[in-house]
């Protein structure tokens, strides 16, 4: 009994005392965690393992965006820029033939540093003035970064991007142990997956720590009433800029993981506006300001993307005789349906999955 209590206390400590807040939400989060932890064994195959790795990365990316959108209440459109900076950080040294763990580490550190410097610069310039400027300016800066990424061909490979090979331990020819374990060959892809999984989990726990620390409480205070937070003596500009820098740094690490997963990086892979829309959707569907919500949202959206296009194709074929409808259901129009979904959720379901569940607990308790 005492052991059980201590175990419970230990688990609470790991998640910084922040529970998902509703039995269903807890069950979903635990299912997601277990599913991702066992993915190479439960869902073998290259495609499903790539999907699981994408979920890990987008959990981190969406949660880091939630630190801005949900906890601090500011809308940034430059999050994919930081994501891409991390990815290019790893891709550039590796693509130039410097293959090794030191290159991966060096690239990640450089990417994070650049992301932090840019985030602080944008934050100090725009958050000082009006919060609404921040959204507009991040949009402008992000599109400029996209332009740079396509124009600086020597550095970034332009539109084509950069393809590279990874250190041997992450390559497909590598074997961790010579015999298959539980029927799965532990090759470099599995090692890559678990590297991504471990880093993502650590980052997620770190974010839980940050938002539940006094620092995170101040961010929420600023979101609720900026004037009052300022009156209590908190320099809101400093806190907001720090939140931007934190989330940019974490997004950059997620970008580095993405580069390791894809063995490639280009403007479309990490920088496009549709990824920004995906992130917004993940955070809003899951529930802003909960961290667990965006994690669930990331799983939902990544899975939907893997299956939505084939679903649309089927709809398009089924309505072939009707005018206009086949065009509406064309597989390339998936962004249209995500947009419609997004608008509907912001209207009717603004608290998202986890937020709505938490409200029911509050109401019945």
């Amino acid at each position: 009994m005492r052991f059980a209590t201590r175990l419970h206390g230990g688990a609470l400590r790991i998640i910084s005392g922040d529970r998902p807040g509703h039995p269903i939400a807890s069950a979903l989060v635990i299912a997601l965690l277990l599913g991702l932890a066992a993915a190479p064994f439960v869902f073998p195959g290259t495609r499903s393992m790539a999907a699981a790795a994408r979920i890990c990365i987008f959990v981190v990316l969406a949660a880091s965006y939630d630190m801005l959108l949900g906890y601090t209440g500011i809308v940034s459109f430059a999050h994919t820029m930081f994501f891409a900076i991390g990815a290019y950080g790893v891709a550039i040294p590796l693509a130039r033939g410097w293959v090794g763990w030191d290159a991966v580490l060096f690239g990640t550190v450089c990417g994070v540093a650049l992301a932090v410097v840019l985030a602080v610069g944008i934050g100090l310039l725009s958050l000082r003035v009006r919060r609404i400027f921040f959204s507009m300016i991040t949009l402008a800066v992000a599109s400029f970064a996209q332009l740079l990424a396509t124009q600086l061909r020597d550095l970034t490979g332009g539109e084509d991007g950069l393809t590279f090979s990874l250190p041997t331990a992450l390559g497909p020819a590598f074997r961790l142990v010579s015999e298959p374990v539980l029927g799965v060959r532990l090759d470099g892809r599995v090692v890559t997956y678990y590297l991504i999984f471990a880093v993502s989990l650590a980052l997620f726990l770190l974010m839980l720590r940050i938002v539940n620390a006094p620092f995170g409480r101040v961010l929420q205070a600023i979101r609720e009433n900026e004037f009052r937070a300022e009156a209590l003596g908190y320099r809101t500009v400093v806190y907001r800029t720090l939140a931007t820098a934190f989330s940019a740094a974490i997004a950059a690490v997620a970008g580095a993981l993405m580069a390791l997963l894809l063995r490639y990086n280009g403007p479309e892979a990490t920088m496009s506006f549709s990824i920004m829309v995906d992130i917004l959707l993940m955070v809003v569907i899951g529930g802003m300001g909960t961290l667990y919500g965006p994690a669930l949202g990331a799983a939902v959206i990544v899975l939907a993307q893997y299956y939505l296009q084939s679903g649309l194709q089927a709809m398009s074929d089924a309505t072939a005789g009707v005018p206009l409808l086949p065009a509406l259901f064309h597989p390339d129009r998936w962004l249209l349906w995500l947009g419609v979904l997004f608008v509907l959720i912001v209207y009717f379901f603004p608290a998202g999955i986890v937020g709505s569940l938490r409200r029911r607990v509050v109401r019945s308790g």
Binding site: L69, G73, V75, L125, S126, R128, V129, R130, R131, I132, F133, S135, M136, I137, L139, A140, V141, S143, F144, L147, L148, Q151, F273, V277, L280, V284, L324, A327, L328, H330, D332, R333, L335, L336, L338, G339, V340, F342, V343, V346, Y347, P350
Partner: protein, 325 residues
């Protein structure tokens, strides 16, 4: 504010134009200055609604550019249907085609603007976060619907016959269409100026921008006024879209995204809510874009961002900040 301080924002524009002169030959300077002013006029048409809507109701519409794109695609269809007038060798018939396209775009964009205000904006007054999210969603849906109707391929816009090409005056090439754009921009600016400063409605709009509660307390329905401003703003965006499409001659849905960024830069530079600021900001962005495109073609978009950063460092609230209560 001292007189010098108040005059300073006005000086930026002439200083910029004169500063560009030593960097290039006189004839290219004339051509580029006209091109910049023409682009600025079109930007002004597109962004004027955005700045007024923000000033009056504190609503930031990220989907404003969708109305520009709509106008551009309407230009393809109307000018395509009026090919008899477009290809006619008569200036009157050519201008008539353009005017019809402008009117169609204004009417359709305005109608969609009315619906957009009803369905999307009305429910999210007061919450910036929700406004940004919902209008971004609206922008995505609108852009994709335009693709459904007009297709994803780039479309060609027929420029009226006598508006193609340019005059040569003293070695400087002056594109005819740019003169038309400048004329229309000046006309709209003058009309807006008159409405805002010489009519009762304009007085209410200006008062509403400065202090909405006070105007409401005096018994005026600012909401209703706002719907009018919103519709007028989207109609102007449609007009700007037509002008821009005919200027570019080849359009894709990407112009919405490109224009969003330029419009934001314009309204930030000018000061959110200020029509004069929007006009000066649009000129600045247009001129800087054209000068840099000539001097360093790869930096065109970067130059407008650099301009915005410089101006914000100098005047954090824009060149012509609106006195808000």
């Amino acid at each position: 504010m001292s007189g010098l301080n108040r005059a300073a924002p006005w000086v930026v524009l002439p200083v910029l134009i004169l500063a560009a002169l030593p960097a290039m030959a006189f004839s290219s300077w004339v051509t580029l200055t006209l091109a910049g002013v023409a682009m600025g006029m079109m930007l002004f048409l597109m962004a004027a609604g955005l700045t007024l809507v923000f000033g009056l109701m504190d609503v930031l519409n990220f989907a404003h550019a969708a109305f520009v794109t709509l106008g551009a695609y309407l230009a393809v269809s109307t000018l395509g249907a009026l090919s008899g007038l477009v290809e006619a060798n008569s200036l009157v018939l050519n201008l008539l085609a353009l005017v019809v396209a402008l009117l169609v775009a204004a009417a359709v964009s305005g109608a969609f603007g009315f619906a957009f205000e009803r369905v999307i904006i009305r429910r999210v007054y007061g919450s910036h976060l929700q406004q940004i999210l919902i209008t971004v969603g609206g922008l995505i849906v609108a852009e994709q619907l335009l693709v459904v109707v007009w297709g994803a391929e780039p479309l060609h816009v027929a420029k009226p016959l006598l508006l193609r090409g340019s005059f040569i005056i003293g070695g400087a090439a002056i594109e005819k269409y740019r003169v038309v754009a400048v004329g229309l921009g000046l006309l709209v600016f003058a009309a807006m100026h008159l409405v805002l400063n010489r009519t009762r409605i304009g007085l209410l709009i200006r008062a509403g921008v400065e202090n909405r509660e006070m105007v409401e307390a005096l018994g005026f329905r600012v909401r209703r006024l706002f719907v009018g401003v919103f519709v007028a703003g989207t109609a102007l965006a449609g007009i700007g879209g037509v002008m821009w499409a005919v200027y570019q001659e080849l359009i894709t849905t990407a112009i919405g995204a490109d224009m969003t960024i330029l419009m934001f830069i314009v309204v930030i530079i000018g000061g959110l809510g200020s029509v004069t600021g929007c006009f000066v900001g649009a000129m600045l962005v247009g001129l800087v874009a054209n000068y840099t495109e000539f001097l360093a073609p790869k930096l065109a978009l970067g130059s407008s961002i650099a301009l915005m950063v410089l101006i914000l460092l100098w005047r954090p609230r824009g060149l012509f900040p609106v006195a808000k209560q």
